[in-house]
Structures are given as C-alpha cells and as structure tokens.
C-alpha cells in the first residue's frame, strides 16, 4: 500500500457543555500520514491546539481497536465515517486525500444529549439494559455448561446479535434516531437461547417501554442502522423483536 501525506481542513462541532449552544470551528492540519488512524489525526490536532493555547476537542474513545464502542463521530454525514462495518478508531486516513475538508459532528439524538464537543451521553442504553437486558441468574446458581446443548445455528445467530458494541451508530444514522437495532440485538440474543426463555415476554415488553421512554424515535425500516453498524448487526433482529413484541403483547396477562 502506497503511503502519502496530506493537508486537511476540519470543521468540528464545538460545544462547551450540555447547556451551552454549539457551533462549528474550522481547523487546519498538515502532514497527516495515510497510515494514521482518524483518532490519531485528532491527537495531532489536539496537541497542536494545546500548544497554541487553544481549547482541544473532547471526544469519546478508549480501546482504539473497534470493540469498546466508545468512539462516536459523525464524519462527513456518516456515522463512524466513510468505511462500512467500521468504528472511528479503526478508520484510517488513507480513506481521505490531500486537500479534503472533513466535517465532524457528534451523534445527534434527543436521547443522546451532548456532554461536550463530540461527546454524548449514552446512559439511555444502560437504562434500557436495566429494564430487561439480562438473564436473572445469581452467581452460583448455574448448572453444568454442557447440560443444555444449544443448536449451533441458534448459538451462532445469538452470537451475531450479541456482538453489538453499544456505540449508538444505529441511532445516529437513523433518520428517526431510533434505537431499535440496539434493543433488538439484545432481545434477539436472549430470545434465541434456552436460558432466556423464562423472561422472554417481560424482557421485550420492558425493554421496548424503556426505549420509548428515553425519547428514541420509531423504526420506519430504512435500514440505515444495519448499513452503518460497525458490527454488521442484521435488521432481521428488528423483525424478530417486532414478532416477540406482538406475541408478548397479545399473550401477556398484565
């Protein structure tokens, strides 16, 4: 792979805190290597800003290997930037060329208020998990792991759903800021496993209720979530959740 250096113009959302208004700031960065990751380019910019006595840009990031789900930038109109099945931290600068102008915004959703600059509060996801994203088993109550064989196909499908990293790109990319892909991934994972059966109905009802309470929008099946999900989580999970929800709604006695 050919390496090259580039100069770029960045337009980045700056917002002091959740209460303040925000606006775009324009920055120039020079001699960015095509081998850098996008966040390393931001490191370079921040070092430059600090040295110049300016305010660096706050952004969420941690593992930088695409698994923790912390990073969250809307780059040139796409959640996690131009590459598909990718997180910002794994986006590399070879995706851009010399002279490009890159616009970077935070996730936009009423349920994800901006904390500062590009950082948003995704606590809503934790609260949805609290509503039912678990199997109620206390430590020490488990039977032998092989006592309950699980059909490989179901196990694999459950794993695919479970690979969600909770980054919120689905919400960010959805025109309705809907969290259906996130919620359905967890509902699907647990509905597919025998261990998840006892709480199957209450789980889907409670998680969906919490999702609505948090102010996420509704799913209108544009499938933007699947297209932008870094882990490629399928919208078939949303269909499964719809099914689970209808079934539970019809049969529940509450």
């Amino acid at each position: 792979m050919e390496h090259y250096n580039m100069n770029l113009t960045l337009k980045v959302w700056k917002q002091k805190n959740s209460k303040a208004g925000g606006s775009f700031e324009t920055y120039q960065v020079k001699n960015i290597s095509s081998e850098m990751s996008f966040l390393e380019m931001f490191d370079v910019l921040n070092e430059q800003l600090i040295t110049e006595g300016k305010d660096p840009i706050a952004f969420d990031h941690d593992c930088r290997e695409g698994i923790c789900g912390a990073c969250s930038m809307y780059i040139d109109g796409r959640a996690h930037g131009p590459w598909t099945k990718n997180t910002v931290c794994q986006l590399h600068m070879r995706a851009f060329k010399d002279g490009d102008t890159i616009v970077v915004e935070p996730w936009r959703a009423a349920a994800f208020p901006v904390i500062k600059d590009l950082m948003v509060d995704r606590g809503a996801f934790d609260r949805i998990m609290q509503a039912g994203g678990f199997i109620s088993v206390n430590t020490g109550n488990a039977v032998d792991a092989n006592a309950l064989p699980i059909d490989k196909k179901n196990a694999d499908t459950a794993f695919d759903a479970a690979s969600c990293i909770g980054c919120g790109a689905c919400v960010a990319a959805c025109k309705n800021s809907s969290a259906m892909l996130f919620v359905s991934a967890k509902v699907s994972q647990l509905a597919l496993l025998p261990q998840g059966q006892p709480e199957r109905e209450s789980r889907v009802l409670n998680m969906v209720a919490q999702m609505d309470k948090e102010g996420f929008g509704n799913c209108t099946n544009t499938y933007a979530c699947e297209a932008e999900c870094p882990k490629g989580i399928s919208v078939s999970n949303i269909a499964r959740m719809n099914r689970e929800y209808l079934k539970a709604g019809l049969t529940t006695e509450q």
């Binding site: 109109g77 796409r78 131009p82 009423a110 800021s177 929008g217 509704n218 949303i238 719809n242 099914r243």
Partner: protein, 210 residues
C-alpha cells in the same frame, strides 16, 4: 402502520382489478357492472367503512410517527450523507404519504362522492343512469387532471416500493428464505398496480380506449 398498510395493499388489488375492466374496451359495460356490484353489495359496503377506518388509522399513525420522530432529533446534522445507507423513498414515506393524501382528496371528490350522491341522495333513482365509466372518460379529457393522476400514481409507486416489504418487517416477518421472495413480489406488485392505475387516465386521454 404495517398492518393498516397491508390492509390498504389488499384494497388496492381490488381497486385496480375493478378499474382494469375498462381495458376490456367494451364501452365500459364490464366496468360499470363491476362498479355497480361494488357499490351495491351490502358486505362490500360495510367493508367500505372498514376501508375508510383503515385509511384514517394509517394516516393517524403516520402523523404520530412523524411527530415522535421529529422530536427524537431536535438538532439536525449539518452534513448528512443519507444516500450512503438508505434509499430516499424509504426516508420520504411521510412526504409521499402526504402527496398521496392530497391526491386522494381530489380523487375521492371527483369520483367517489358523485357515485355516492347518485346512490343515496336521489333515492337510487339517479343511480341507474349514473355511468361511472362515462364520468371517467369525461374527466380524463382534461390534460391537467391526467397530470395530477399520473403524479399521484408516481407517489404511490415509491410509497409502495418501500411500504410493501416494510410492512412485513414491521409485523415481524424477516426470513432468510422468504424475505427475498416477499421483496420480489413487492416490487412486482408495485410495478403492476401502478402501471395499471397510470394507464387509465393516459388511455382515456390518448383515446386508446373508447
């Protein structure tokens, strides 16, 4: 949304079926028979009420969705490359639906109300002489009426192209084997239904049918 949508999709089959009778090209005899049957069978007349209820529900649901979804993102993106992840018509169901609603108001006032007046207001006396076929033929001699109809059908086309498969997803049907079939049927359905609807005013206007 999905259930009412599917209901309306079924209705469209009936509607397009009856309308297609004009293509028999027998001066509207078959069509008028079918239309007469449709408006005089009491089961169908009860279902008619259901149809309006379904349509109304579909519209109300759409409005609720529109309001909730608009408030779910108070600050919009300044740059949004939505075409990279979804189809424009999937994102524009509200707009397409609104266009369809405008069209329906015109459509219903043109044909449906007249038919009803003919049926009820004159105590049925006028009904026998009411010739829907001739009314259509007359209407579609004006170019701008034809244009409005064709535009309405185009809105319907995009609305259905998303709506058909989307309805199945909403009621929880997404299957590795069957979903591609559903999608294919959806595309076929959309093309056939819209083509037939669009051909009607065009055929009258251009005098393809007599």
């Amino acid at each position: 949304m999905g259930l009412t949508g599917l209901f309306l999709i079924v209705f469209l089959i009936v509607h397009v079926g009856v309308n297609s009778c004009i293509f028999v090209n027998d001066g509207g005899e078959t069509f008028n028979k079918a239309a007469h049957f449709m408006s005089h069978n009491w089961i169908l007349r009860i279902m008619e009420i259901g149809l309006f209820a379904g349509l109304l529900l579909h519209i109300i649901q759409g409005l609720i969705l529109w309001r909730q979804n608009a408030s779910a993102r108070p600050v919009k993106y300044s740059v949004n490359a939505a075409n990279a992840n979804s189809k424009w018509y999937s994102r524009s169901m509200g707009l397409l639906g609104t266009l369809l609603l405008f069209f329906l108001v015109i459509h219903v006032s043109k044909f449906f109300i007249d038919t009803k007046i003919a049926l009820y207001a004159d105590g049925g006396a006028h009904d026998a002489s009411h010739n829907l076929y001739n009314a259509m033929k007359e209407e579609f001699q004006t170019w701008w009426v034809v244009v409005i109809y064709v535009l309405g059908v185009i809105s319907l086309f995009w609305h259905l192209l998303h709506g058909f498969q989307s309805a199945f997803q909403t009621i929880g049907i997404n299957h590795k084997r069957y979903t591609p079939i559903i999608k294919a049927i959806g595309i076929g359905y959309t093309i056939i239904v819209c083509l037939l609807f669009a051909l009607m005013p065009i055929s009258f206007y251009l005098g393809w049918i007599d």
